[in-house]
Amino acid sequence: MKDVEMKMLERAKQLLESGEVARVIGWKKGEFFYDPTPASFETVDELKDFVYDWFCGANLSKYLIQMSKKEGKTAVFLKPCDTYSFNQLVKEHRIKRENVYVIAVECLAKLNIEAIKEKTDGIVKSVDVEDKDVKVVTTNGEYTLYKPEVVLSKCAVCNKTHQAKDEEIILHERPERDVNRFEEVEKLEAMTEDERFAFWKGQLSKCIRCNACRNVCPACSCVKCVFDNPHSGIAAKANDSEFEEQLFHVIRAFHVAGRCTDCGECSRVCPQHIPLHLLNRKFIKDIDGLYGEFQAGETDEGKTPLTSYTEGDIEPKDVFNGEAK
């Protein structure tokens, strides 16, 4: 990963120095080594904090909504999954494509620090990756973890490839793997209604309505959101008995149905560890099964399943008869 980081840094410097772009969006050092944060670099000097490592899971596409409207070009580093969100935002006319220079960067799955902390004792001091081994040093000792067990949940089932790029920096290819991203959804589908309700009630009642999932979601890009608008009839901050409070997740999940690229950012940022991606994956699975396979963000044009139809579409009541679809 260090070699890739060096190349990226070099390229960022060139682009800024030559004036080809006005800013570069990437990741910069966070407070701890495992929490790099998205950042915009406008000068070569600012690039001293630039990082690209095993913890750069954050999706940078959403920042382009604002950045692509600024003066001058914006260069951005996008991982495979990020390019889907990027395309989707271009399609929704939220990003000005002509103002963006996309540099596709490799990703060999990103690590989940929470999972690492759970599997180790003491304070994490350093993390190194060697193929499938994750070497962790903590104040209590050294550990070797199996990488597939400590990657972000979105990376565990990812087989995505870059769908948008103006140039690429790829030194190592991630081999294609056999993954079934619907496995967890299928498990839930196989439960009884009562069990499913108990599961979701248990999960959703942990929610503190911090809005992080909405804020990070590239599909949630409305300028005015019903959850913020006191006149919408469904907004009521921190009020447990109000409509929006109880049905926040259902409303949000439906709102992004057909547009959610399965980028997994919602689950990554949730401080309560609610498996939010399982909500939208259900919509994705149903859409695939009922209306034909569809991957949001694969292209930046065309209709989405919810803005189109066919005359022979299945009747809602038959969706249940055919068992869990």
């Binding site: 959804v185 839930l188 589908e189 209604e193 009562d194 069990e195 499913r196 309700f197 108990a198 599961f199 979701w200 009630k201 248990g202 959703l204 009642s205 929610c207 019903v226 469904i234 447990d240 409509f243 409070e245 109880q246 049905l247 926040f248 259902v250 409303i251 999940a253 439906f254 149905a257 909500l279 259900k282 919509f283 149903d286 859409i287 009922l290 209306y291 399943p305 919810l306 803005t307 139809y309 066919t310 005359e311 579409d313 299945i314 009747e315 809602p316 009541k317 969706v319 249940f320 679809k325």
Partner: protein, 151 residues
């Protein structure tokens, strides 16, 4: 001290029926003028087209105490606005399947196509839906999806 009645009151469900102006609402009208009965606990909300029904309308109805929600529109192909009900069909298929995934009984939601000439069908559909929801009992789930245990 007041006696507490142990006798259970018969459960009468609250049903919300979204009916499109051009077909189903007219069908309900026809049922009325043909003196065909449908249960009085069906609250009809007239909408210009079934596709006017935003999923949040359905959710709000449940959250405000509906025990069952039914959407009625023109038969596919007969929409007054040509294609509105095709969109409804996809939306509701996905929404209802999703609600069931969250543990909401699938019998509480329904979509039926009723034309302006189908008064008898309107009455039959409503009677059947009310019967189904009555058998299910009160809807508690969608009102308290996020209320913590023991509250």
């Amino acid at each position: 001290m007041q006696e507490v009645s142990t006798e259970k009151k018969e459960f009468v469900p609250n049903i919300v029926a979204f009916c499109c102006n051009w077909c189903s609402y007219a069908g309900a009208d026809l049922a009325g003028s043909s003196r065909l009965s449908y249960p009085a606990n069906v609250k009809i909300i007239r909408v210009p087209c079934s596709c006017r029904v935003n999923p949040t309308f359905v959710l709000k109805a449940f959250q405000q105490g509906a025990d069952g929600v039914i959407l009625c529109g023109c038969h596919p192909g007969d929409c007054h606005y040509v294609t509105g009900n095709y969109y409804t069909r996809r939306r509701m298929a996905l929404l209802f399947s999703f609600l069931n995934y969250m543990g909401i009984e699938k019998e509480r939601t329904r979509v039926e196509w009723v034309s302006a000439a189908e008064g008898a069908r309107f009455s039959a559909v409503m009677n059947d839906f009310v019967k189904t929801v009555t058998a299910l009992g009160e809807n508690k789930r969608l009102t308290d999806l996020r209320v913590k245990e023991g509250e």
